[in-house]
Amino acid sequence: MGVFGSTRLTALGSRSQTETVRHGHSVADAADDAAVRGAEPAPAVDMSVDLAGAVLPSPMMTASGCAANGKELHRFFDVTELGAFVTKSVMAEPRSGRGTPRMAETPSGMLNSIGLQGPGIRAFVENDLPWLKQAGARAMVSIAGSTSGEFADVAAILRASEAFDAVVGVEVNISCPNVANRGLVFACDPHASAKVVALVREQLPRDIPIFAKLTPDVTDIVTIAQAAVKAGADGLTMINTLLGMVIDTDLLRPQLGGVTGGLSGPAVRPVAVRAIWQVRAAMLQGRLPFVPIVGVGGVRTGRDALELVAAGASAVQVGTATFNDPTAPVRVGRELRDLLQDKGFARFTDVVGIAHERVG
């Protein structure tokens, strides 16, 4: 615990060293523990994480846009069981979103074209955030904008809101179209990404970490990650959906009203694992400072979550699987904990990025 929080202000070289020492130590510990324990039941795994200062009891989160803003899933599980509840991306003004059909089922996944439907930041801070606060949830608020200025405005209103003390972090959804750049998504361009992150960072107190959510639809995700971190991102969330399209073969036309949509679900998990791996590897090579990666993409089981964690994710979001099982975000957390316990790990953080030490 505390690895990211305690080292993020130190020099790059010492960060790498901390990481290496931590992993070397923990693997040996786990082996010793297992030998000593014998037939005794394994001790509980410490699942807590420190995400750039946000200390959470669990690495599990909802994924933005797959969980609404709390009330709906609170019928199925206690939202305080999560490390953080990630809200649906909110923009400055109310948005109706697109027409329908908005959804198409695809093999082990789905395509969606919602169009960032939402109440606008003012209604959000008046209704949704206070609800999360009274429920005792730790809120990770996802914000979006059509211009970099809109991101900043949304962050400013959030900061000034009464229930802001329920916020443990802000996720900056830069995977939305930039009207100033012919609708190219911010996260496809390092300069546009950096500008948004810098403006949002200015609006929020230092003790609130901000996470830039990256799209995998780029030639080199490390370049975007570097730009975001350099501009002040305290962490990275990856991945957003992949752009896709489905043709209705009866009508021979696009199935979605919005023509293209975002692909999500277990089908994209290998893409998420790859993206997390590449950015973590860049950190290990010193090409990028160590910041926590929040992994998201196709997680349906504890084993899926472990893939993302071993590739380098310090927290895991569950998105599309929630549509299949409304308890998925907490169920996956329990499965992950049991899996780590079976493997003899004492701490969740000991497994973060572990696969990088075990390459052939």
């Binding site: 609170h74 199925f76 697109r98 439907q117 549509f323 099982d325």
Partner: protein, 298 residues
């Protein structure tokens, strides 16, 4: 058999339901599941969301079915009945199930049919297997002293559902088929105006395809009756988190919003739905809806 999730007071459960009966009814399949804890909360018009294909299924999205009937207690404990038409891989999987197979069920979901406070005459209109929730509704209405007429319509006889059951639980039954294979040749909207007039119906309940719901609303409104319609929008989750099942509906404040048919519906007052937005398989956002796209789109 287990209840995997049911927070106290939530009014909804997630259960592993055992299939105890499956039978063909015309073009459809009628399935009965043991679903402990679900029946007690359910009201006519609510629905269940069913996971298909088992725990490693490649079909992730839940399939939603209006509840045909529930039985809170019996030989097997509480049961829930749904009617399924096999037209895709998920519904095909469900109709291929055998007795004692298990399915993950979430329900009851959505808002039920609102019931009149006074014992007014009512008409219940079902298109195809859209009639599934209406028999339970008919019994509930008659218990409250409402006269119940049923109108069942479909393309052809095999696509009607529940004609015999309707005769048992309604005061009168009218059947229409497009091809005239049973009852009146034509649409439900052909017989509805005269039926509203002759019975003095104050409420028309309807469940079926969007086009039918629109014409039922138009007829009911023209005849001075209130239409309460159960919509069939495709849903991914059924519990209010995916935002795919939205449709434009005017609220009490007169403002049109894109509302989720799973949590704000599936029952809407017909005259609140912006039917003109539905065309050719698409639904567009009305320009006056809250937060509608500006020139050039979102």
């Amino acid at each position: 058999m287990s209840t995997t999730a049911a927070r106290p007071g939530a009014g909804v459960v997630q259960v592993t339901g055992e299939l105890i009966a499956t039978r063909r009814v015309g073009a459809y399949h009628h399935l009965t599941f043991v679903a402990p804890g679900l029946a007690e909360h359910a009201r006519p018009g609510q629905f269940v969301a069913v996971a298909v294909g088992g725990p490693t299924s490649a079909n992730l999205l839940r399939r939603c079915f209006s509840i045909h009937r529930v039985s809170p207690s019996g030989t097997y404990g509480g049961t829930v009945d749904v009617v399924v038409a096999a037209h895709g891989p998920g519904t095909q999987w469900l109709t291929d199930l055998r007795a004692h197979d298990e399915v993950d069920i979430v329900g009851p979901l959505g808002r039920p049919f609102p019931l009149p406070k006074e014992p007014v005459p009512t008409i219940l209109v079902g298109g195809g297997y859209g009639s599934a929730p209406l028999f339970w509704l008919a019994e509930t209405l008659r218990e409250r002293g409402c006269r119940v007429e049923m109108v069942l319509g479909a393309a052809t006889e095999s696509r009607l559902f529940g004609v015999v059951e309707a005769r048992r639980c309604a005061d009168g039954v009218t059947v229409t088929t497009d091809d005239g294979s049973l009852g009146h040749r034509g649409w439900v909207s052909d017989v509805l105006p005269e039926l509203i007039r002759s019975t003095g119906a104050g409420v028309v309940y309807a469940c079926g395809p969007m086009g039918m719901l629109r014409s039922v609303t138009e007829v009911a409104t023209a005849e001075g009756a209130v239409a309460q319609v159960a919509v069939e929008e495709s849903m991914a989750c059924g519990v209010g988190v995916c935002m795919t099942c939205v449709m434009p509906v005017r609220g009490n404040d007169g403002v049109t919003r894109m509302v989720r048919s799973c949590v704000e519906g599936p029952i809407f007052r017909g005259d609140r739905v912006r039917w003109e937005s539905f065309e050719n398989g698409y639904c567009t956002v009305p320009a006056d809806a809250l937060g509608a796209p500006k020139e050039g789109g979102h």
